[in-house]
Amino acid sequence: MIGLEVKNLSHAFGSHKVIDDVSLTVGPGKIICLLGPSGCGKTTLLRLAAGLERVQSGTIKVDGVKVADRKLHIPPEQRHVGLMFQDYALFPHLTVGENVAFGLEGRNVGDRKSRIDEVLGQVNMLDYRDAYPHVLSGGQQQRVALARALAPKPGVMLLDEPFSGLDEALRIQIREETLSVLREAGTAVLMVTHNPEEALFMSDRMLVMGPGGRILQAGAPDDVYACPKDPFVATFFGRTNRLMGVVSDGVVATPLGKFPAPHYSEGCKVQVIFRTHSVHLEINGSNGIPVDVVSARPMGRDTRVQFKVPGRGDLPVFLSRVRGRFPETPSGKVTARIVPEEAFVFHRDGDAS
């Protein structure tokens, strides 16, 4: 097939396993995000695909051609795979135009020039063709790096944390620009990030990698977010709370309410994980569990409220994020209700915090 195909890839540094039996495919025009905490093998996977690292086990195919397995190693310069580095890795002694031209060696001068203008135009950097990288801002460097990687029209494009070097405001803008440039290029894109929001925004399909280098869940970004299949995935998209309980009659009863647990056997010890904004706090409300507010700190749009269940000193303090303002000393009884479909039930041995 056209694009990137990774099969049963495993990799370890010494005894430290960073990629554990990973398989994935990226078709043309698709953007796949590999999401995971720092320290798992995300970047290593990109380096393996690009040929900067030798495969220990598994196979990698680019456009249907096997480029690497335990024995085979096609050097990176023959793979036709574009890689954009986290630190951009622009060549400091070459101008923007020369940087982009670097990957166009072997084409005639006219072709080269028109391609340089074309990709620099796509990222709005045409005016900087003769500037040196050190005079560019972070966002501009990012665009040049993108243009340089896309210039030779690689069949597969790899992006390593493409926005991590940018500050918050710029990141959102560059993200949108990058997305449209990549869509326009129509190449197969594999992007690596530790930022869930970025992955949700950019990807057609998302893979979540755990700390041991295993793919914990793969699917459409919405599905992964809404239906995490693993405690780690559930906790990765932001702060969460955790409750312990035992399944009885397909239901787990907790101090903060009952949740359906249809696929668990009777007496099974489970944990219930819910996100901070899945907790609804009401003052003088009718339904929900009565709780005591410990603190309420305004966070701009939201209020971060800590609360506990009265008389249950054994339970931790819970955290919720409430839309709007919430008083630190409420005028009446406060009740908490957790949206049942946003509470995720897992076996207790699944490690999560």
Binding site: K71, P75, H80, L83, F91, F102
Partner: protein, 580 residues
């Protein structure tokens, strides 16, 4: 290239599993490192491979004296460079006084003067017929040596003084950097706990800078072991002198190799001390980037005292010798001298230039192969090739000459047997052998400079270039070479200048009637023709200023970085005579 392609295939077919270990970069690097490491290994093989009776004989006769004298010389130079280097380093780092900015770089200048040059200059000045004693006699009306006591410059003490004066900059440079990096908080905490500036220096600043000081002294002592000219001229019976004596006068190759291997034990201790301290340096410097100290201002009589203290090593180690050489050279200048100067100068330029080019080329190849492949084998091998810098020239001479002679004899014998012709000595006593020796000895300088300058280029640059379709060769040519050009030039200069100064290897290995500036100085000085020695000596000293200029530029860069980042710069990375 063609051969390696035929055997191992070009990159397109480099896909076979074994190519991971046997591509052309790895093979080239392994071959080069083996060539460079061979002489060092040879010394051990020869020393251990011969009968024990020579050992026993050496032990009973000369060896104890050589060892004792060498130890005494090392202790003396160690102390001397410690006092001069640490003292001036601290004054310049911690105090502000008139002329500090000039002293900062000027205190490095004595590095430009080789030991054998300063030795004959001071002999010229201080001997019985020299100006100093002459003036004293005129002043006090003494008429013969029996009327007064005057220290004998041609002695162990004299050698210690001479070597300390030209080697203290190693300690100065490293201790100054360490003092500058020390956190103001720590020093001020000590002040608030009741320590004055001087006690603070002795009880806080020096212990904190200890790793840097030990590295500096180790480097100075490696140079001391390498010195042949000074100890030969002063007839101080060190191991270096012993090698020459046993080899050339007693004609015992094995004996020379055994003394050489004894010397390697000393070298090993120094290398271990240096490496250990470099590791320590990390801990001593650990912690958050801290506020820089504010220089204390010296004023009044104290300022004058500080200036004088800094002037002493500078004037004795550089200004005075250069002044003497200048005046001698001017007085001695005549047509004969110009003739006897030009040929050795051309020889020196050729030898050092060729060695510099080769050392940079080999250093670049090795450094890039390690970057490219990063295999443990290559890392270990290039560590070994880097040891040449610590091995004294006399020892390397043994290690280069003996295998070459064996090779020549073997080739000669082989051709006699099959063709009945004698090839004679192919390599021994040729310029090629000498250049090879230089490269072995100075490779660490170029390799170190290139390695550290490559290390400053982030590996993702290589990755970016490779994924854009560039072969490793093109990455080196189009990306790395333009980026590290400056460091390669510095590396070449460092090797070149050390080549100009090189004496012990050149004396033994040079072709018949082939003189360099250094051997010229050595011969004239040995014949007490000091004026005749001065033009060549002056030329060596003047080229010796080049690396000082490079060091000053590095110092400036560090200072700018320190100011820009407001943080510490870890490790100025001074190697034997160079920048790392």
């Amino acid at each position: 290239m063609a051969i390696s392609q035929a055997i191992f295939g070009n990159d397109r077919h480099a896909a076979r599993p074994m190519s991971q270990f046997f591509d052309r970069w790895t093979i080239g690097a392994v071959l080069l490192s083996c060539c460079v490491a061979a002489p060092i290994v040879a010394v051990f093989v020869i020393a251990t491979g011969t009968g024990g009776e020579i050992w026993a004989h050496l032990f009973e006769t000369v060896l104890p004296r050589y060892v004792q004298t060498t130890l005494a010389l090392m202790i003396g130079v160690g102390l001397g460079t410690f006092i001069l280097g640490t003292g001036t380093g601290w004054l310049v780092a911690a105090w502000d006084f008139p002329g500090r900015r000039i002293f900062e770089w000027a205190l490095l200048l004595p590095l430009a003067v080789p030991g054998f040059v300063i030795a004959f200059v001071y002999t010229d000045i201080l001997e019985y017929a020299g100006p100093v004693q002459g003036m004293l006699r005129a002043l006090f009306g003494w008429t013969s040596p029996r009327d007064y006591w005057f220290p004998e410059i041609r002695s162990l003490g004299g050698a210690i003084a001479m070597l300390s004066l030209v080697l203290y900059p190693y300690v100065y440079l490293l201790s100054r950097a360490a003092f500058l990096e020390q956190s103001a908080d720590v020093l001020e905490a000590s002040r608030t706990l009741g320590r004055g500036p001087v006690r603070n220096f002795l009880t806080v600043a020096i212990p904190l800078a200890r790793p840097a000081i030990v590295i500096g002294i180790s480097l100075a002592l490696m140079e001391t072991l390498n010195d042949f000219g000074t100890v030969d001229f002063f007839a101080v019976q060190t191991l270096t002198l012993g090698i020459f004596d046993v080899w050339l006068n007693q004609n015992s190759v094995a004996g020379a190799a055994q003394i050489a291997s004894t010397m390697l034990v000393f070298v090993l201790c120094l290398i271990l001390a240096e490496r250990f301290s470099r590791r320590q340096q990390r801990y001593h410097g650990a912690g958050r980037p801290s506020r820089r100290q504010i220089r204390m201002v010296a004023s009044g009589p104290f300022a004058a005292f500080v200036v004088i203290v800094c002037l002493i090593p500078l004037s004795l180690g550089f200004v005075l010798p250069v002044a003497v050489l200048l005046s001698d050279a001017v007085f001695a200048a005549d047509a004969d001298l110009v003739d006897s100067f030009l040929q050795p100068a051309a020889n020196s330029l050729f030898l050092s230039g060729a060695a510099a080019l080769l050392a940079v080329a080999v250093g670049l190849f090795l450094a890039y192969a390690v970057r490219l492949r990063g295999s443990r084998l290559l890392k270990v091998l290039t560590r070994i090739t880097g040891l040449g810098y610590a091995v004294p020239g006399a020892v390397l001479a043994v290690g280069v000459m003996i295998p070459l002679a064996a090779f020549d004899n073997w080739v000669d014998g082989y051709f006699r047997q099959i063709a009945g012709i004698s090839t004679g000595l192919l390599l021994s006593g040729t310029v090629f052998a000498l250049i090879f020796g230089y490269v072995v000895r100075f490779l660490a300088l170029s390799q170190g400079a290139i390695e550290s300058s490559l290390a400053r280029i982030t590996p993702s640059i290589d990755g970016a270039a490779r994924t854009l379709g560039a072969t490793p060769g093109r990455v080196l040519r189009d990306i790395h070479l333009p980026l590290i050009r400056g460091s390669m030039l510095s590396a070449a200069i460092l090797v070149f200048v050390d080549g100009m100064k090189e004496l012990p290897m050149t004396i033994v290995m040079r072709p018949f009637n082939f003189d360099t500036l250094a051997t010229e100085v050595h011969q004239f000085a040995a014949a007490e023709q000091f004026a005749e020695a001065s033009p060549a000596a002056l030329a060596i000293v003047l080229t010796g200023i080049l690396p000082v200029i490079i060091l000053v530029r590095v110092m400036d860069r560090d200072a700018r970085k320190r100011e820009a980042a407001g943080t510490r710069i870890t490790g100025t990375g001074l190697t034997r005579t160079g920048i790392k």
